[in-house]
Amino acid sequence: MNLSNIFSKRNKVLLRELVVTDFKLRYQNSALGYLWSLLKPLFLFAIMYVVFVHFLRFGDGINHFAPMLLLGLVLWEFFTEATKQGMKSITSKANLMRKINFPKYIVVVSATVSAFINLLLNLVVVFIFMLIDGVDFGWTALLLPVTLIVLYAFTLGLTFLFAAISVKYRDIGYIWDVIIRAMFYGTPILYPLQRVVEFSETAAQVLLLNPVAVIIQHARYQLVGGDDVILPQHLFANPIWIALPYVVIVVVGLLAIWFFRARQGKFAEEA
């Protein structure tokens, strides 16, 4: 991962080709093809909506909770897809790596880029849904790309780390499966953070130390805005706690780069 090489011609070409191939292959032999990647989160949303909003009434008293639920799901779906696909990217390309020398990080990046393109397309659906629901976009919506970049950076960092670990220890895949399931319920996606605050403010604070939760809340705030979204600065007085999730993102990123670089020379023989 020589920084000057990351965007060299050869690597850009390869990245592009791998992403395109991935898209071509993913929906081959399916009648609806690419539509599935839009339909999947919508169906998931429909189920969640019926259970948590319609029956359990989690969103009561909060404006536009339905589109916020969809937004949260779509962002979360990216996070899980990218980490799960990305961590397998090195091991699943073992055969290729034993026969040709190419920069290893490209397969990891390509897996996450595929998921990210998916996310962007899903966000189009979210926008449409928000317009239908009568969301009034403010200038904060322009900040959404920044939030998405932060989400991508965190996801990429974790994926690099997991991909390198899984070369020797496939266990990380199973462990991550469990963690990510627990995290799903520990992230304010299905329920608004307001419900948690009513129950215990400390619990809400703990939930907002999770980088993904912070990112989702920011995205919701930027798109829906207003008083309906609780941000870290609403709960924490001490800026250290507000900064902590970002510190986690940076530390994970640096750790991932260091670890991946140290291990990548052995991927071809060990994967």
């Binding site: 070409v13 080709e17 292959l25 040709i100 190419f102 071809a268």
Partner: protein, 403 residues
């Protein structure tokens, strides 16, 4: 750019693999082997390459030969920077093809066209660059009408043709080719040969060819390296290396047939004993002489004599019976150990694999009392690069059209 410049230099390169006793990709195994301490080490070390050093000059056609498992592929992977050496240095002067196999990254679910671009991207070519090469590739592979079909519907020959056609478009200074010559039908083979002939002329291109085919080594290579069990046996001209490789193969064939045990026969009291050994080289040319030593002992004072046969594929083609041929002084009648020598000028033989078989005959009963070489202990090979005639013996016949 002089032709003396070094294209590739390999210095004191060693490589060891840790082979796990069981697949070692779990936390559990790792914990067990760590907790288990020394006597439960989870892997075995295999020294695949031991202190390899050689240089390849620019413009050279360099062959790497060796038996399966000798470390050829590992050496190639080290050269192409797929593996990292444990110690030593590999220096490459110029651009190098990064792949060691044809059709790397081919995906059966993609069409031929898509695979061309994907394979090109792996070699570092953009879509635009591949556009420019596309027609050349398809024409060389001769599969125009199949390019929009999925690769999984291709015959294996078509796949290899496509892969080879892409590979030769890589235009690197140093081209690494692993066992690529035995592909395709005769017409395609000819095309490949033309390509190799042409590239052999090109002083700027360096080729490293890994092959089992000694014909290819002799035909193309300027020099070749013989790997044996992770070490360099020799680096020499193609003929010398081809002979040494044949010998290596022959020796291992003998070992395989007879078993790893010693070729000598145990002397048992009161039993006849016979063994023999080829004292000359076992890979020979028609100008050479085959030499062997026959050792024997007989438990009684009966008159005995040693005989020898040359045999090709189970058919005796030459018998040497000293009694019938009235070679004097060959009969013995004591219980001492004797040594008889055997010499055969090979000028009447064609190339092929032969075996020598020796017998011990009791003259009074006309019976063979001992035999050696029947399992192939005394195999030898005659190589003759000039003549491709069939049959064991050189042609002595004349033919004439009389009507």
């Amino acid at each position: 750019m002089t032709s003396d410049e070094i294209a590739l230099s390999v210095k004191n390169v060693s490589k060891t693999f840790k082979l796990p006793h069981e697949r070692h990709s779990g936390l559990k195994q790792s914990l067990i082997s760590k907790l288990g301490g020394k006597h439960r080490k989870g892997y075995e070390e295999q020294h695949v390459l031991k202190d390899i050093s050689f240089e390849v000059k620019k413009g050279e056609f360099f062959g790497i030969v060796g038996r399966n498992g000798s470390g050829k592929s590992t050496l190639l992977k080290l050269i192409s920077n797929i593996y990292e050496p444990d110690s030593g240095k590999i220096k490459i002067n110029g651009s190098l093809t990064p792949f060691i196999e044809l059709g790397v990254g081919f995906n059966p679910e993609l069409t031929g066209r898509e695979n061309v671009y994907l394979n090109g991207a792996l070699m570092g070519f953009s879509r635009k660059e591949m556009d420019a090469k596309y027609d050349t590739i398809v024409n060389f592979a001769e599969i125009e009408e199949f390019m929009d079909q999925k690769l999984k519907n291709y015959s294996s020959g078509m796949q290899v043709r496509l892969a080879f056609s892409i590979a030769i478009q890589s235009h690197s200074d140093i081209l690494i080719l692993d066992e690529v010559l035995a592909v395709g039908d005769e017409a395609f083979q000819r095309k490949c040969n033309d390509f190799f002939d042409q590239i052999k002329q090109d002083e700027t291109k360096t080729i490293i060819l890994v092959t089992h085919g000694m014909g290819n080594v002799k035909r193309y290579c300027d020099r070749a390296l013989l790997l044996n069990d992770g070490s360099i046996d020799m680096i020499a001209g193609p003929d010398e290396v081809a002979d040494a490789y044949s010998k290596l193969n022959l020796t291992s064939r003998i070992k395989k047939r007879v078993g790893d045990k010693d070729l000598s026969v145990e002397k048992v009291e009161g039993e006849p004993w016979l063994e023999a050994e080829i004292t000359s080289d076992i890979v020979l040319r028609p100008a050479d002489t085959l030499r062997a030593e026959i050792k024997y002992r007989y438990p009684s004072n009966a008159e005995i004599i040693a005989k020898a046969y040359i045999d090709m594929r189970g058919q005796p083609i030459m018998a040497t019976n000293p009694r019938v041929l009235e070679m004097s002084g060959m009969v013995t009648s004591d219980t001492n150990e004797h040594i008889a020598t055997y010499e055969l000028d090979l000028d009447q033989f064609n190339r092929g694999d032969y075996r020598l078989i020796v017998h011990l005959e009791d003259i009074t009963t006309n019976e063979n009392v001992a035999t050696y070489g029947i399992k192939g202990e005394l195999i030898f090979k005659i190589v003759n690069p000039d003549i491709a005639a069939g049959g064991a013996l050189k042609n002595k016949a004349k033919m004439e059209l009389v009507r």
